[in-house]
Amino acid sequence: MQNFELLRNVTIGQYIPAGSAVHRLDPRAKILAAGMLVLAVSFNTSILANTVFLALVLAVTLVARIPVRYMLRGLLMAVPVLVFIFVMQALFLGWNEPAGAVYVQWGWVRLTRNSLHLMVISMLRIIAFIFLTSLVTMTSTTTELTHGVELLLTPLRRVGVPAHELALILTIALRFVPTLAEEVERIMKAQASRGGEFGVQRIWRPDKLAKAYLPLIVPLFLSAFRRAEELVLAMEARCYVSGAARTRYVVLRARPLDYAVAAGAFLFALWMMFYPLPAVRELLALLGIEGL
């Protein structure tokens, strides 16, 4: 039996309205902070710093009153990617360096001290990326995010970045996700009523697969084009002119806490980028911990 309920599987904008302090932050502060942290994590190769970062993200998750279970569910979707990366690294990373402490050598697989370190780091990074981005989308509505992106990009208008147009495209795309999902559901049911079957084809016959889905894709595209044409007329009738000066209904006002979050994220990012600081390394060496 097929499952026609596609809306259940649409996860875009998985907003969880827990009403915490994190939810109330200015979306610009959240986007900026997340951006800086992602950048910093990409440059940091220390297991300790990555672990500290992951712990921090989980702490913020708790403050935001997001069930950690939800976060882990987001991770579930990434498992195939994680496994793929892990296997590729296990196969190839060890051979990059001629020397170094070889821990395991078994056929093609060679694990060295360095390759193991890199593998652990990359796993930690990907998990941190996923957690961080989910945290932002779970605590901000898609509308807040588009406004945030638009306002952050507005200063770049001068160098030709069409900030408003980009935000409008994003908004309209999000606006039509549920509408088109319903449409797909309806067309699928209509074709199923005519004996059409979806999801029983073998994926190793892409030609047959494409043919089976044609009765779904053609009507969907036609409908999307028709909707687009009507939307253009409706927007023009409401005086929309691309690139024209316009005012904004939604006004975001940053509070001290928002500045504090952005500044805090900036400092933490700096620390991540330049860690291990010499002083810290010496301190750790005194304690007998090395090479983290």
Partner: protein
């Protein structure tokens, strides 16, 4: 009165996809004064929507001129002034909403006009209040009903503070409740705020409240006048492919029999008044109930003997089951469909009737209760759903949206090919299916699907389901979006299918249609079977139907009104115009006591 819209000798010509020139408008002269409520009527292809798009410079004349206030629409420097003055609401609410939050969508127009923030907030509040949607301001539009979405679209136009509101078939996609909501708002804005309204529609009854009605045919103005002047010309309107409101038609029929009976009646109230005044209406006599005009193919007794083709018992269905968003769409619905019947399902949008129908061919599985179709219990895991789908054809709303092949013949063949039939058998089925919907096999099989008219595409889609040779055909709003002539043709076609032995299940909120063709009706509200019975039994409860947010046929409302006033005995089995004519003529013609 000052003219606010002025159209002079307007011609509009455009190239069809095939490259030939189409003359949509052929010389229109029209003046609309500030504060008027004008209805523009016309069949599909009469040019009415093209005319509307000229009124706010979405289209520019091929010949002639259009002025809004003192601005010519050809003057590009005035385009934004014109569009801010003449606001327009379109047919499909989904395709006009830009933002993901209601209030932000309403603000879209003012944002484009560069209105300062504080003024914009004031306007958004005012507009949402005008359409009664203030408490929905933070909602996501896709979670609203069709009528609510269309009200948001009106608010979005009002926020630009227009002097003219154009409704371009803005009610065509709505159910009766949504339609009334939108029309009430338009009337109120016209009366209280002095907004000029131009309403474009195919339905006469939406024009009853207009100050002036303009009827377009073939790109020209065919008739113009007050609703009262125009509606009595029943035959002329029919020839223009339009319908007249039931009460007007009844009045004209009675007028033909009794020349002193007024023919210019628009509403149930007026008809009840006229009948009361005629003074000849007698207190109830023992008149025989008029039988339904269509002779039944199988009698009730015959049916009770054999088991029903479809039996639904205490059906329960949940959407999004197992998620926090789980909602129960169907609570407790039971219904039977016997061979040879025409069964109607009535209910407003969201009542669960479409969900129920999707159980009839196993698209959805019951979450409680049972669905037995042609002897198969669909809730048992061993049920052969594919066999059931072959026997129970389901035609969705706007089925033309499911077409996908380039050529008509191939599209109709999709079903039979899925059955794995050989070439000859497929060909025979396609031929038969196309001919039974009135599309000649040889003439249409190699036509381009997307080059056909809307009505023809709907027939192709219907043929695509008929090619499976189903015993039962379930149709969800088969006539939605068609103009009156298209509706009549499609209903005739469906009745023709019934005569070939196909059992029909029809979902509709057009009560007048259902009243005319169904053997039995089920009323579904809030996912429950609220009423069931023959049309006479159901429409005898006109008041109760109103209470459930449903329309009763105007004739049924009239009978209810007359019974209330003690003019006739309650509950005559009269619900079509023909029956009412016979019933009332007998009463009016009766000798004075």
């Amino acid at each position: 009165m000052t003219p606010i819209l002025r159209v002079e000798n307007l011609h509009h010509t455009y190239a069809s996809p095939a490259g030939e020139a189409i003359h949509a408008l052929r010389g229109i002269d029209l003046t609309v004064h500030a504060g008027e409520y004008v209805a523009i009527l016309g069949a599909n292809g009469s040019g009415k929507s093209t005319l509307a798009k000229h009124l706010n410079a979405l289209l520019l004349p091929t010949e002639g001129d259009v002025w809004v206030k003192t601005w010519n629409t050809r003057d590009a420097s005035r385009t934004l002034d014109i569009r801010a003055t003449v606001g327009m609401v379109f047919q499909t609410p989904d395709n006009q909403i830009v933002a993901t939050i209601v209030e932000e969508d309403v603000a879209f127009g003012p944002e484009n006009l560069g209105i300062p923030h504080d003024e914009m907030v004031r306007r958004v509040n005012w507009s949402l209040e005008q359409v009664g949607m203030l408490s929905f301001r933070q909602r996501a539009p896709h979670l609203l009903s069709g009528g609510q979405k269309q009200r948001i679209c009106i608010a979005g136009v009002l926020a630009m503070q227009p002097q003219v509101l154009i409704l371009d078939e803005a009610t065509a996609m709505l159910d009766p409740v949504g339609r009334d909501e939108v029309l009430d708002i338009a009337r109120r804005l016209n009366r209280e705020q002095g907004v000029t309204v131009v309403a474009i529609t195919h339905f006469m009854r939406e024009a009853i409240h207009a100050d002036r009605v303009i009827i377009l045919s073939d790109g020209r103005i065919a008739l113009e006048g007050t609703p009262r002047e125009l509606f009595r010309q029943v035959e002329r309107l029919r020839s223009l492919q339009l319908d007249v409101p039931q009460m007007t038609e009844l009045a004209c029929r009675l007028n033909r029999r009794f020349p002193d009976f007024p023919a210019d009646i628009l509403s149930v109230d007026e008809m009840a008044g006229a009948l009361a005044q005629s003074g000849r209406l007698l207190p109830p006599t023992d008149l025989e109930h008029t039988p339904a005009s269509r002779p039944a193919v199988v009698t009730q007794q015959d049916r009770a003997a054999e088991p029903p083709l479809i039996a639904v018992r205490n059906l329960v269905h949940d959407y999004m089951r197992g998620t926090p968003l789980q909602v129960r769409a169907v609570h407790d619905v039971s219904l039977d469909v016997h061979a040879g019947e025409i069964v109607g399902l009535i209910g407003h949008t969201g009542s669960g009737k479409s969900t129920v129908v999707q159980h009839l061919n196993g698209l959805l599985r019951a979450d409680g209760g049972s669905v037995t179709v042609l002897g198969q219990d669909l809730s048992s895991p061993g049920a052969d759903v594919r066999a059931v789908r072959r026997q129970v054809g389901l035609v969705f709303q706007f089925p033309e949206a499911q077409l996908f092949e380039q050529y008509v013949g191939d599209d109709v063949a999709y079903g039979p090919r899925n059955l794995g039939l050989d070439r000859e058998a497929v060909r025979a089925r396609v031929r038969h299916a196309m001919e039974s919907v009135g599309l000649g096999f040889e003439a249409f099989k190699d036509r381009l699907t997307f080059g056909l008219s809307g009505g023809q595409r709907r027939r192709v889609a219907l043929a695509g389901v008929l090619a499976l040779e189903p015993r039962v055909l379930a149709l969800d709003e088969p006539t939605a979006g068609l103009d009156p002539q298209g509706r009549r043709q499609l209903l005739d076609l469906i009745l023709g299918l019934h005569r070939t032995g196909i059992t029909l299940v029809i979902i509709s909120h057009n009560m007048e249609e259902l009243a005319a063709i169904c053997d039995r009706l089920y009323v579904i509200t809030d996912g429950r079977t609220a009423m069931q019975g023959s049309p006479a039994e159901i429409f005898g409860h006109a008041q109760e139907l109103r209470g459930m947010g449903l329309d009763a046929p105007a004739v049924a409302m009239l009978m209810d009104r007359l019974a209330e006033q003690g003019l006739i005995r309650p509950g005559p089995a009269v619900y079509t115009v023909e029956q009412a004519e016979a019933f009332l003529a007998a009463l009016l013609g009766a000798p004075e006591a």
